[in-house]
Amino acid sequence: MAADSTIHCDIVSAEGEIFSGPAKMVFVPAAQGEIGIAPRHAPLLTLIKSGEVRVQTPDGQEQFFFVGGGALEVQPKKVTVLADTAIRAKDMDEAAALEAKQRAEEILKGNIDKIEQAEALAELARAVAQIKMIQKLRKIRV
């Protein structure tokens, strides 16, 4: 009976395993609305939106997990949630891609030294300010 009334649920993300264990029921925010998966569900493959995954454990408790989206695979005895660690939106991905391209261009132009130079200059300015402050304090003491 036990094997039939529960379904094995795995929630994994690229940066680690989030949950693994038996469940009575799993609720997932699928791309076309929230779905509940009971044991012996038909095989299903769908994308999920960012939201809450609820897992009902056999002892009647509920566990909540936040996922930023991802994919869901259902087999009669197994549910696998492939969760994204990052919340992704199309434009956000686009922006990240643009940034990576820009950096590549800067490298080709040889501007990377300039970036490092700017950082070093900022560091220098901080150090100078600190020295000035120390000198001031010394003068007061004398």
Partner: protein, 286 residues
């Protein structure tokens, strides 16, 4: 006593260098352990996604995703994974060397090479080569996050989709053990056939909204997870390489201090002997 003072300051300076290298060694050792843990944690996701893709392939053998179709390689893309900082032995050099070998091999076949660089060291090295760089990301730190890598991976996947590149490789250091890391080249695209392992019965999924879209999303995540794993593995390699390099540096500093101490003692002894001789000589003269 001329000479002895200089030797003393030299010993002091080597000692302080040794302190630094020892500290770096210990920091690298603890970071390595954490990096290895992260490497292990990324494994379940990659395995699960592999299984899903395997099932998908078996469920609809007639549908070929663009990522599975091998094209005539006119142009290739290489993702180079390097560290952000140096002082880690020959780690980056080895990765760059095998990248160069791969580049030469494909250029010999008349293919263009496009690069995607992860880590500051790769950016510094490959910009001199005059090879087109499509994307780059640096400053990943000791804990690379998936979201930091997404942008560069997307650029490469888009390039593959629109035909700018026909093949995508990734070169990174592989963690063999603490003492050895070796550069490996892996082909990411087209995806080489994935075996689903044991599959009890034949079935097809219900797809929501449709098969192609899901397949696309799953494949993208598969590639991303591979790149992420490489980045994490590269960090583990960097830390262990740094640990070994710093241990060697500390040992060398210890040896140097020993030698200098010997020289110092001799110089001091010579000075004392000389002084004694002078006193004795002076006394005899009186």
């Amino acid at each position: 006593m001329p000479g002895t003072k200089e030797i003393r300051t030299k010993i002091a300076s080597v000692k302080s260098t040794q302190k630094i290298t020892k500290a770096m060694e210990m920091v690298a050792a603890s970071k390595m352990r954490r990096a290895q843990d992260r490497m292990r944690l990324s494994r379940p996701y990659a395995e699960k996604i592999r299984v899903v893709i395997g099932h998908l392939n078996k469920a609809n053998p007639d549908y070929r995703h663009p990522f599975l179709v091998a094209r005539e390689p006119k142009s290739i893309g290489i993702i180079v994974v390097s560290s952000d900082r140096g002082l880690c032995g020959a780690l980056n050099t080895n990765v760059f060397k095998s990248t160069l070998m791969l580049m030469r091999e494909w250029q010999g076949k008349g293919a263009n090479v496009n690069l995607c660089l992860l880590g500051n060291k790769a950016a510094g090295f490959f910009r001199r080569l005059g090879v087109p760089i499509l994307a780059s990301v640096g400053g990943l730190g000791d804990r690379p996050h998936v979201k930091d890598l997404l942008g560069s991976v997307k650029v490469m996947l888009d390039a593959y989709r629109d035909g700018t590149i026909d093949r995508l490789f990734i070169v990174n250091a592989q963690f063999v053990n603490t003492m050895t890391q070796k550069p490996v080249v892996t082909q990411l695209l087209p995806v080489e056939t994935i075996d689903a392992g044991e599959l009890q019965e034949h079935w097809d999924y219900i797809y929501e909204p449709n098969a192609a879209e899901i397949l696309d999303a799953v494949f993208m995540r598969y590639i991303e997870s591979q790149v992420y794993r490489s980045a994490v593995e590269s960090v583990a390699c960097e830390m262990s390489a740094r640990m070994v390099a710093m241990k060697a540096a500390s040992d060398n500093a210890g040896k140097l201090i020993g030698d200098l101490q010997l020289v110092y003692n001799k110089a001091r002894q010579a000075a004392i002997t000389k002084e004694l001789a002078e006193i004795v000589g002076g006394a005899a003269a009186v």
